[in-house]
């Protein structure tokens, strides 16, 4: 913009002292183009209406998360929080698609209820970019789980090593107890086809819950963000390792609402819990544990 003002000023000085009307007329045209090239994007960026169209509920720190936004005018969008590479959204022509994908690359775990975007435009001449910050609420909170770090050693149970317990059973295996109607979330391989054919709707096998004693992992995040990230990564690795080994896990964390101790069934659940976790001691007391089980 400064360069544009300098060009116009210098041009007018030369035109005015050269005594030629055509030079001044050309200078007027250059001024008009520069003015619209500078002020036009300001208007476009100010009036740009960007709305959130869809976004996933889960993500992993350091991994790209794609959300779809919509804009009636062509704008450059750069995610600021969580950060991400810039992309262009908006119609490329008269009948072009108004929506487009932008990629978020969250650096740390956390829960995002909104994304902060930097909207920029240089329309109509591409001479000057004007930007504005915009906070768009997400349709559902985006839980960014920590990366899967190095698993911490889990303390041995008293009976381990004696030969009485060779392996922990998987949480989704057990003795069939009966069949029940399908509810969302049930594994496909538990569908009982014969009962389904008989009942007319999908039935699944109901299994006995594993009898194993759950492992309680209490996560106490330090105040330092980086250190807390590392602790969360390690905790997630431990939880995932235990779950893959078939061990039920009780995860104790401190969330903004207070300490929470609850069972986690899979990586996603553990990731969400750790995404919500804040600095402070986790919920490991017996009272909390009781409450959690309830």
């Amino acid at each position: 913009m400064v360069v544009g003002v300098l060009i116009v000023g210098l041009w007018w000085l030369v035109a005015h002292n050269a005594g030629s009307g055509w030079v001044q007329v050309l200078g007027d045209l250059v001024f008009g183009a520069l003015l619209i090239g500078i002020a036009g994007p300001f208007v476009v960026a100010t009036r740009a209406l960007v709305t959130m169209r869809s976004a996933p509920g889960d993500g992993i720190a350091g991994r790209p998360v794609e959300v779809r936004v919509e804009s009636r005018s062509r704008v450059r969008v750069r995610p600021v929080d969580p950060p991400g590479p810039e992309a262009f959204v908006g119609p490329t022509g008269r009948r072009g698609a108004v929506d487009g994908a932008i990629t978020l690359v969250p650096l740390r775990r956390g829960v995002h209820h909104a994304v902060t975007l930097e909207i920029a435009s240089a329309a109509p001449f591409g001479l000057q970019w004007w930007t504005k910050r915009l906070q768009l609420p997400l349709p559902a909170a985006l839980h960014v789980s920590p990366r899967c770090g190095s698993a911490q050693p889990v303390p041995l149970r008293p009976d381990e090593g004696t030969g009485d317990v060779l392996d922990r059973p998987r949480s989704d295996v057990g003795l069939p107890r009966g069949v029940r109607p399908y509810v969302p979330g049930d594994a496909r391989r538990l569908v009982h086809w014969r009962s389904t054919a008989h009942a007319g709707h999908v039935m699944v096998r109901e299994l006995e819950q594993p009898a194993g004693e759950p492992v309680t992992i209490t996560v106490e995040l330090p105040e330092d963000r980086e250190a807390a990230e590392r602790v969360a990564e390690g905790a997630l690795a431990s939880v995932v390792g235990l779950l893959e080994g078939g061990v039920p896990v009780l995860l104790g964390t401190r969330e903004p609402s207070g300490p929470v101790l609850a069972a986690v069934a899979d990586r996603r659940g553990a990731g969400r819990r750790l995404a919500r976790a804040v600095h402070g001691p986790g919920g490991a007391t017996s009272a909390e544990r009781e409450g959690a089980w309830r």
């Binding site: 030369v14 005594g19 030629s20 007329v25 045209l29 250059v30 262009f88 109509p124 591409g126």
Partner: protein, 691 residues
């Protein structure tokens, strides 16, 4: 700080992202080609050079596009060496002592064209293309510095279109394919034009700097046969100018008075031919020559030949005319001769210095300058004139005639015979005036109040005295007769006065900032001598503005005048007709195409009237059910109609044409009747669902 500067330079020189848009390159190429063509049309560069440059720039643009991702290193070296070489040549060429702005323009054109040619081979990124666009703007400006007519506007329009295309393509490229809609393009173009027009209207006219030398060019004039003689009659330089005669009253640019004598008995038919254009700091009378000897019907010069030749090189320093007083301020004028005219060097009031394309000039004692060359089309010369700035108060206070030489005083008061009636009239008009200035003004006012200007009068008979005929006849005459009458009245009062001929400033062109002088702008007026301020112009028939006109105000006046000439009835008829066509086309597009659409439209209209507009999420059957629900329980007209429409739309079950017409008619006649107790029309419906 040095490190920061280096870092900034390094960042600025980082290669940009390769530009893949062919359209952007074509648009920039178009701007450059138009700019080169514009300069060639003004002869700032030779035609062959221009054609060669155009070819090279086109080849360079194609080469740049082909090598945009990996530009060869030797190209960068070539561009750097070429640019440095062109700059060295330019500064060497313009560093001569006599270099002025006009002597810089041609080398500057060559420099810019060379830079554009060399640079076109290394334009990998968008930033480089923007530089190309800027350089083309500079080239257009250099061309515009020498443009003196509106034909240059064609190049400006073409260049503007190419540049606008390039700028929009720049946005398209920068935004990953985003295209500006037609409406957006029109809006951007309109806003750009409006901003440019606003600046144009606000800015004052450009001034001519007095610190640079000016252009002088010989046109298609040829040599004058008689040294120091006045030639150019009928456009032929070899033919001496003749005083006007009733037999040959028509001349293109040659005024009947641009000769050894001025015949006031007749006025020439001059036509509206553009004689010359003048670039000046302020409007003024463009003086050609003056006459000091009155012979009853014609004016002549007391010392016509020989004129003193000035043998110098341009610029010529002119001597102060006899009896004149150097007072006032310097004023520059450049005269661009458009049609062959007399070989008089025009100027404002008195000339100090002349830039002229010849080895000598002839100067008369009264300051009249005569060229040894015929002034044909294309001749250009520049004059530095002395323009009086004396105010009326200063002129009133300056009333001592003794400082003029007695012989000169006698000549400027000379009369061929006593004018007792004229003297009596002049004395009666100026009876209450004590100063020369007041006497002159009183006489001018009297002439304005008691005489009429007209060019359509027959020539005076031979031997008749112009002043007596005019003042004591029907008092109708043209500028030569009126000004002569004023001069004679002044002389009868003992006030030195003489007749001056030349041109009024002409119409001001707000685009070129030139005064356009036409043949019928030729004029005669009176110069009155004031001891402290020299010869001062007084005109009883025309008024010359004292300040330079504003381009914006002039343009607005021209637009207003043009609009005022538009006949209102035909234009209003065209506008109304166009409006009717638009309304008809929109109605044709909006009207329902099928019977089903008509029924649907009728249902929606009836519902709207009843305060039940159709919701966006509502199907026709649902809507019809809602409308029926408002009326009697057994009434299901709308539902029946809706089922017919849906059967046609989704089941392909079109009823026979007769039934279709009946259904449409029924839908038109059907009304939504609310039964007693139904919800009022303004009762809120359930919230609309956005689909």
């Amino acid at each position: 700080m040095a490190v920061g500067l280096l870092e900034a330079v390094r960042r600025a020189n980082q290669p940009g992202v390769p530009e893949n848009s062919i359209r952007l390159r074509l648009a920039c190429l178009g701007s450059v080609l138009v700019a080169i063509a514009a300069c060639a049309s003004l002869q700032e560069i030779a035609l062959t050079t221009a054609v060669g440059a155009m070819v090279l720039v086109s080849v360079g643009t194609a080469f740049s596009h082909a090598t945009r991702t990996r530009p060869p290193a030797w190209v960068k070296v070539m561009v750097a060496v070429g640019a440095i070489g062109a700059c060295v040549w330019f500064f060497h060429d313009v560093s001569s002592p006599a270099a002025g702005i006009t002597s810089v323009i041609n080398p500057l054109t060559v420099l810019l064209v060379t830079v554009l040619v060399v640079h076109s081979f290394h334009v990998p990124s968008r930033r480089d293309l923007l530089f190309t666009l800027g350089a083309s703007a500079g080239l257009m400006a250099v061309g515009g510095a020498l443009a003196i007519d509106l034909r240059f506007g064609l190049y400006v329009v073409a260049w503007g279109c190419c540049s606008l295309w390039a700028l929009t393509e720049m946005w398209t490229s920068a935004s990953g394919g985003g295209r500006i809609s037609t409406a957006g393009l029109v809006l951007a173009l309109g806003a750009t034009s409006a901003a440019a027009a606003a600046v144009f209207l606000v800015l004052p006219a450009p001034v001519v700097s007095s610190r640079v030398s000016f252009i002088a060019r010989a046109g298609a004039g040829g040599s004058v046969g008689v040294p120091g003689g006045l030639a150019g009659d009928s456009g032929a330089a070899a033919q001496l100018s003749r005083a006007g005669s009733p037999a040959s009253r028509i001349r293109v640019g040659g005024y009947l008075g641009f000769a050894a004598s001025l015949n006031t008995a007749l006025r020439g038919n001059l036509g509206n031919t553009l004689v010359m254009q003048v670039r000046a700091q302020r409007p003024s009378y463009w003086v050609g020559e003056t006459f000091d000897t009155w012979q009853g019907q014609s004016w002549s010069e007391s010392q016509p030949v020989p004129r003193r030749p000035l043998r110098e090189s341009s610029p010529f320093i002119l001597p102060i005319p006899l009896g004149d007083v150097p007072f006032g301020q310097s004023d520059l004028q450049t005269f661009y001769v458009s049609s062959a005219t007399a070989n008089l060097v025009f100027h404002a009031e008195s000339a100090n210095e002349v830039w002229f394309p010849s080895g000598k000039l002839y100067v008369a004692g009264d300051g009249t300058i005569v060229s040894p060359l015929g002034l044909g089309t294309g001749s250009v010369y520049t004059v530095d004139s002395q323009v009086s700035t004396a105010s009326p108060a200063q002129l009133r206070a300056d009333d001592n005639l003794l400082s003029l030489a007695p012989s000169t005083l006698r000549q400027e008061e000379q009369l061929p015979h006593p004018y007792p009636r004229v003297q009596a009239l002049a004395r009666s008009v100026t009876a209450h005036d004590t100063t020369t200035y007041d006497k002159v003004q009183s006489l001018i006012h009297w002439i304005g109040a008691h005489t009429h200007y007209s060019e359509n009068i027959p020539p005076l008979p031979a031997g008749a005295d112009t002043v007596d005929e005019f003042l004591f006849g029907n008092r109708v005459g043209f500028c030569e007769q009126i000004s002569t009458s004023l001069a004679v009245m002044l002389r009868s009062l003992g006030i030195p006065a003489r007749e001056a001929v030349g041109y009024v400033p002409g119409s001001f062109n707000p685009i070129t900032d030139l005064y356009q002088v036409h043949a019928n702008d030729a004029h005669a007026w009176v110069q009155v001598w004031f001891p402290g301020y020299g010869w001062q112009d007084f005109d009883p028939t025309a008024v010359v503005p004292v300040t330079p006109p504003s381009p914006g105000a002039t343009a607005l006046r021209a637009v207003g005048s043009a609009l005022g000439r538009i006949p209102p009835v035909p234009v209003a008829a065209v506008v109304v007709g166009a409006g009717l066509v638009v309304v008809f086309v929109r109605w044709r597009r909006a009207r329902p195409a099928t019977w089903a659409e008509r029924v649907t439209r009728s249902a929606e209209r009836a519902g709207r009237r009843a305060g039940r507009p159709r919701r966006p999420s509502e199907t026709l059957a649902e809507y019809a059910g809602r409308l029926d629900g408002l009326g009697a329980p057994e009434d299901a007209t709308w539902s029946r109609l809706a089922s017919s429409v849906e059967a046609s739309a989704y089941g392909g079950l079109d009823p026979p044409p007769g039934t279709q017409r009946a259904l449409v008619l029924e839908a038109k006649r059907a009304k939504v009747v609310r039964r007693h107790g139904a919800a009022p029309a303004d009762a809120p419906d359930r919230p609309l669902e956005r689909v």
